[in-house]
Every structure is written in structure tokens, then in C-alpha cells.
Symmetry: C2
Subunit: 416 residues, 2 copies
């Protein structure tokens, strides 16, 4: 049986709101063993809504809708459902009593307690819009529909406490799809692709996916299995082959993000860390501080955007600045050493560069970035990068490159 | 003619990636006068992909796909398009030459230069996946399709420079929808809602929308018009009424973002600016440095995450730290004054707080934030905030609140 999600609302269709509900439900269902086969979004237009519902129900589906269950003029879902399932709408005294027990006699209670006759009710403890389960064996013998509210907090609660138990009871489960994600830094799709082709040839039950992100390449090994144990047995050899092949590129973090991997590394190794940032302007520090617990290793950052600040607070020598320029390895080395000293940090990173679109020269065009890593007891490690793209892209490439270089450097130089 | 968006990719379908591409394209098209009628997402499954494409093309549509144009094993879009439009795939030497001119002889070039015969090419300056325009007058006489890459940076660039001009040329336009956005800070929906009802009553040709974002409330005045001039005449009086009513809340920035409004203000007024950040950990500085030209006023930030750094680099007195705690107005006042002095800045902001989930006390629970604004020749302006939510939400609320407070303070205290 297919599972299809239909989001209902002009605000999603016009792009004012990103449809994160679909991602949430898909992921929650995926983790529970159900694979969604399609997402759709339609606006607050009764005709388009009925057409989309009808088409999805004809595809032998469990259809899950979000949105349009509210009490205002642009909420059409309950009316559309009554029409599609060919039942009248009627005031339901149990729903009325439930809403009243939580929200009192709100203005919208009569409206919100009016539901398609025969619908099973999925109660919503956080809002007045009840969830609905509908089925019509004659019209759609192999399908059913569950309608959920579109407000993310209400929907999320109901997915966990109602939708998933409901699906577990309604849908036959046998083998289901499992996924093992592997995350690599400093790799391109083409580096990995032919290895995946080989894996798919050697292990026909494994299906591979490649997902390149900014700075990270994620590979998914997918297979149908009865349970996690069986799945891990199926993918074990393929996983080991890939991990061995790309050992130095592999990293581990729950989110698959490099900043999280570096954060977890510092946390585990108890290495105090500081930053001296010019062109990244505080964004690099922000990546670490986004994670709870950063305060146990992260000392701070001196964002020295102006050259006077590089001199006054990072003690970069006037001579170096003048002879080599602010974007030079000589300057980032002084920045890295001096910020580590100023903040008593065992490790530090310094970065200086030209994000553009202005400020480039023939010698140092836009996208030229220098960086240095300081680690107590080790020689400084410095390198230059050259990136293309707009300001936002060059900034993100810079951050990702530094995180990858730093993690590689730490893997190499810190004892396990 | 309908406009339908189809996102292609397991990572979207399984919820690992939120389909923000659909929101971006819908909004960009909306601003250009085109209204999208449906979004769909299908996985990397050739059968499901062909079915979805075929169904959409039968609905008299301009179909815009994103994703699946890469060179690897899970990219099926070009093959599916060739089948659906009943044309062979063939190596295209012009596409080859274009990719080579930008990316050199990359490994994937032969694969990426193989496109459906007869497709018009929409060139992609940021990646190897070209966009494609396809039409088959016999099979789908009233439809056409445009395929775009799924990588957001590439897709965004192509929407602006290629898709919208293309649609302007291909789709008949008469009267179309125009939108005038007005951005307000420190306002809630309920403050504005009844004024918008009045506007809709007084000017029946105007339709209003309210879109609350983090820290910003945007109001859209929408009307059908032949051209921009006619539209501006229609909305002029309504716009003036709203602007006058909420004068102190109104701000101006092309993106509708508060950080951009503050950036433009500093740029225009030539006021040098510095930051002292504790809990925001560099993110606030990053908001300014995201904009080109920030170097002309932005000196830098001292990210003093650790208390030793607050003492050593921001010269916050041990006594204040001990008696008042790091999260106190007394501390942020010292931070603001001292960072302005250290960086020779005319204006500065300091912030210290508890983002959580740990670190809260009975006295100062998670979400307690203190901030101070220093402006040369003026008394310090300090305030305390209390926010709820998770770490990420509290951080964003803090940043938006500080930006709004700073802009309001500057409006009041800097001569026009």
C-alpha cells in the first residue's frame, strides 16, 4: 500500500511557509518502518483539493492530509472529505465534549465538533481541530485517509501518539526498508559512484543513494529486512568495504553535519578551542555555539574584521600586515597563535579571506581564503583556498573546508 | 495554464531534506506574477517519476522539476524525460563545450552533456547539470516542462536568471498579480489584522496577507494590474495609511530582514560598530558580515563565551561577574562600553544569556538574556529578555529582538 501526504494551504503553495510538515511525517514514518511514496501540496481551493484527494485514494493509498481543519473561511478539508467519502457532516457530541474539556466553550466549538459521519476521531490535545480517520469500502476499497491539523506542534504530537500506533494497527507489516547513512568529507560524487555501482552488483539486495551537501557527501545503504539486526547483517560487508576505502574521509555525527562532528570531537577529547575570524565574521564560532555543551571547550572568538582590530586585539604585526596583506598565511598564523594565547586555548583556528563581490585583486581574487590551525605542541598547519560563487556560497565553502581540514588534522595529530 | 512543481529525490521523500526548493520557486514565481497550483515530491524511482510527470503534463501545465539531473546512479530525470517526451538521449557538443568552459574536463562531462534530443538548454553557471526545456506538441499539446537541478544554490541562480525570463516569454500575460510587501518590527498579527480588514473593505481591489516571521511581521498588499505603475496607484493610499499608523515599527530592506535593515542603516549613516557576544557566540556578528560592504562600518566582535575571556579581553570586572553573574545588565554594560573602546567603534552591542537546555537557575531560567547598546554621547541602553523554546529558537528570538531594539534605538537617537 502507498502512503501519500497531502499538505493543504495557500501559504504552503505560495511558498510563504516551507512544507516542513511533510519532512517531519516522512521521517517519523520512515523510522517506524513505513515508506512514504509521494508528497503533494494543494491550496485552499475546494475543487483542487477534491481532485487531489480523489486521485490519491484511487492509487490504493493510505492518504495523510495536513491542514485545512480550522474553523475559518479558508478551511475546506472537512467539507471536502464529507463529499469525497459521500457522507454528511454532522455535529458530534463526543468531539464537542472533548474540545470543551480542554478549551472550554470556545467560539468555534460547534464548528469544530462538526465532522463527517462515520469518521473515527483522533483526538488533538493541543488544538481544537480533531484528526479524522475515514474509509469507504465501496468507493475506495483499498484505501483509507487520515486527516491531521497543519499546525506543526499539534501535528507532531498527533503523529507520535496517534498516527503511528494507528498505522501499526491498520497496515500489514512484513519486511520493511532500513537505511544506514555514512558521511564523508572531502569527497565528490564521482569518487564514490563506481564503488556504489559495484556494491549494488555484488549485493543485489542493497540499494545505494548519494546525497551531496555543502562539504559533506552522504551515502545511504538501503535494504528491506525483517528487523534492524537482519538489515545490519545484509549491509555489513558493503559498509566495511566503503569505510575501509574512504577511511580518512569518514566521520560520524548524528545529524551528518561536519560542525557537529568537530563539536563532538572537542567535547570527547576535552580540548579547549578558540577562533580568530576575519572574513567568516563570527559565523564559524556560531557553528560551535549552536550546540549545547560547547561552553565546556569553546573559549571564544576574536572577530577581527578591521585591520586595526587584528593589530590591537590579535597583535598581528603591522609589518606582516603591510608586507603580506591581511589575506595571507603569515597573518593567519599570527592570528591563530595569538588567539590561543589570549584565550588560553590548546587549539585554535584563524581565517582571513575575500568573500566578495568586491575587494579582489589580480593577485588575490575574490574567493581567496587563508587559514591556519594551531595545536599545542605541533607545528602550525596553514593552507590557502580558492573558491568561486557568490558571497554566501564562498562563505559556506570556507566554513565547510575549514571544518573538514580541522577534523582531518585532529584525527592525525591527537592521540586516540 | 497550471504551474506544477515536482521535486525528485528520495532524500526529500524520506524527509531527510525539507523541500525548501518548492517554497523558493513558488515565492519567486509569485513575485513575478505567476501562481503555482500544485507541488509534488516523488522519489528516485523511475516508474513513479514517469507516472507523476505524465499525470502533470496531462493537466495542461507548465511542469517545473527539481533534482535528479546529476551524473550518478540515483539520477533518473533525464532518462525519464526522454521516455516521456519520446525522444532519444544524445551527447550534445554545445553543452559539452559549455560545461568544459566552466569546470574543465571533469569526469562526469560526457554523462552530463547527454540530454534529450530537441531539449532547449538552460545553462547552469554553478554546476554541471544543465536545465532543460521540453515540449511535445503531439503528446502534450497544451503543456511544457522545465527541468532544473535540485542543488539549492544552482536552482536559485537559474530561477532568477533563466526560469522567470523564460516564463515571461512563454506564458501569455494580461493583468497579473502584484504584491507590495511592508515589513514591521515589534508587532503582532492582532495589532494589524483589523486595519487590514478595513483596507479590504475600503479598497475592494486590494487583497491583504499577514505573514508573521521570526521578529518581523510582513504585510502584503496584493492587487491585479496591467503593470507596476498601475498597481502602485491602486495601493498608494492603503500603503500610506498603514505606514502612518505603524510609523515606528516600519522598516525598509529589500529582503524584509531586520539584519539587512540595520546593516543598511550603519552603511548610510557611516557609524562604526562593534559587538561583544556571549550566548550568541558569533552568530550576531555573522548576520552583519553576511552583507557585502559591512567592512566599511563593522570593526569586529569579541565572542567571550568563557568568563575568563570576558575578563581578559573585555575587562569585565571580577567583582561584577561574581556579584551579578555573567547574565546581568551590569556585565553587558561593561562589555558594550569596553568593546567599543577596544575597537574604536561609535556604537556597540553586548549580549549575555542562557540558551539552554542546561545552565538555567530558579533566578535566571533558560531563556533569560541581557543586552546593552552603547552609542557615543548617549547613556547606555540596557534590557532583559525572557524567551521560551529550544536552544535554536531562543537564539533566533534573541538575535531578532536585539536587531529590532537596536534599529529602534538608532531611529530615536541618531539625527536624520
Amino acid at each position: 500500500m502507498n502512503i501519500e501526504l497531502i499538505a493543504i494551504g495557500d501559504e504552503v503553495l505560495y511558498g510563504m511557509v516551507v512544507n516542513s510538515n511533510a519532512a517531519f511525517i516522512s521521517q517519523a514514518l520512515f523510522e517506524a518502518g513505513f515508506v512514504v511514496s509521494r508528497h503533494s501540496t494543494v491550496g485552499d481551493d475546494p475543487v483542487a483539493l477534491r481532485k487531489a484527494l480523489h486521485a490519491a485514494l484511487l492509487r490504493k493509498s493510505c492518504v495523510i492530509t495536513t491542514g485545512g481543519l480550522g474553523p475559518t473561511c479558508d478551511d475546506h478539508t472537512r467539507v471536502a472529505l464529507a463529499e469525497i467519502f459521500n457522507v454528511p457532516l454532522k455535529h458530534n457530541s463526543e468531539v464537542h465534549a472533548y474540545i470543551k474539556s480542554i478549551f472550554g466553550n470556545t467560539k468555534c466549538i460547534d464548528n469544530q465538533a462538526t465532522v463527517p459521519v462515520g469518521a473515527e476521531i483522533l483526538s488533538n490535545p493541543l488544538g481544537t481541530a480533531s484528526g479524522l480517520y475515514l474509509r469507504n469500502e465501496t468507493l475506495y476499497p483499498e484505501s483509507f485517509l487520515i486527516a491531521l491539523p497543519g499546525v506543526p506542534s499539534e501535528m507532531k504530537e498527533m503523529v507520535k501518539t496517534q498516527l503511528i500506533p494507528y498505522l501499526n494497527a491498520k497496515l500489514p507489516v512484513g519486511k520493511r526498508l532500513f537505511v544506514l547513512p555514512l558521511h564523508f568529507m572531502k569527497l565528490c560524487e564521482v569518487d564514490v559512484d563506481h564503488h556504489l555501482h559495484e556494491i549494488e552488483k555484488e549485493f543485489p539486495e542493497i540499494n545505494c543513494g548519494i546525497y551531496p551537501g555543502m562539504g559533506v557527501l552522504s551515502v545511504h545503504l538501503k535494504a528491506m529486512a525483517q528487523d534492524e539486526e537482519e538489515f545490519l547483517q545484509i549491509v555489513q560487508t558493503a559498509k566495511d568495504k566503503l569505510s575501509d576505502k574512504f577511511r580518512v574521509h569518514l566521520f560520524d555525527s548524528p545529524s551528518g553535519r561536519l560542525d557537529e562532528a568537530v563539536h563532538l570531537y572537542f567535547l570527547e577529547k576535552k580540548i579547549s578551542f578558540a577562533l580568530a575570524e576575519s572574513c567568516t565574521g563570527g559565523s564559524l564560532a556560531g557553528r560551535f555555539c549552536a550546540y549545547s555543551g560547547a561552553s565546556s571547550y569553546f573559549k571564544g572568538s576574536i572577530v577581527a574584521y578591521a585591520n586595526e582590530v587584528k593589530k590591537a586585539l590579535l597583535h598581528v604585526s603591522e609589518k606582516t600586515l603591510e608586507s603580506k596583506g591581511a589575506v595571507s598565511i603569515e597573518v593567519t598564523e599570527e592570528m591563530a597563535k595569538n588567539v590561543a594565547k589570549a584565550m588560553s586555548a590548546r587549539c585554535s583556528v584563524a581565517v582571513s579571506g575575500i568573500l566578495g563581490p568586491t575587494g579582489g585583486t589580480d593577485d588575490k581574487p575574490v574567493g581567496t581564503i587563508c587559514a591556519s590551525i594551531y595545536l599545542e605542541g605541533h607545528p602550525l598547519h596553514s593552507w590557502q583556498m580558492k573558491f568561486t560563487g557568490n558571497r554566501e556560497i564562498i562563505l559556506e565553502k570556507t566554513i565547510q573546508n575549514i571544518l573538514a581540514e580541522l577534523l582531518t588534522f585532529l584525527f592525525k595529530n591527537v592521540a586516540n
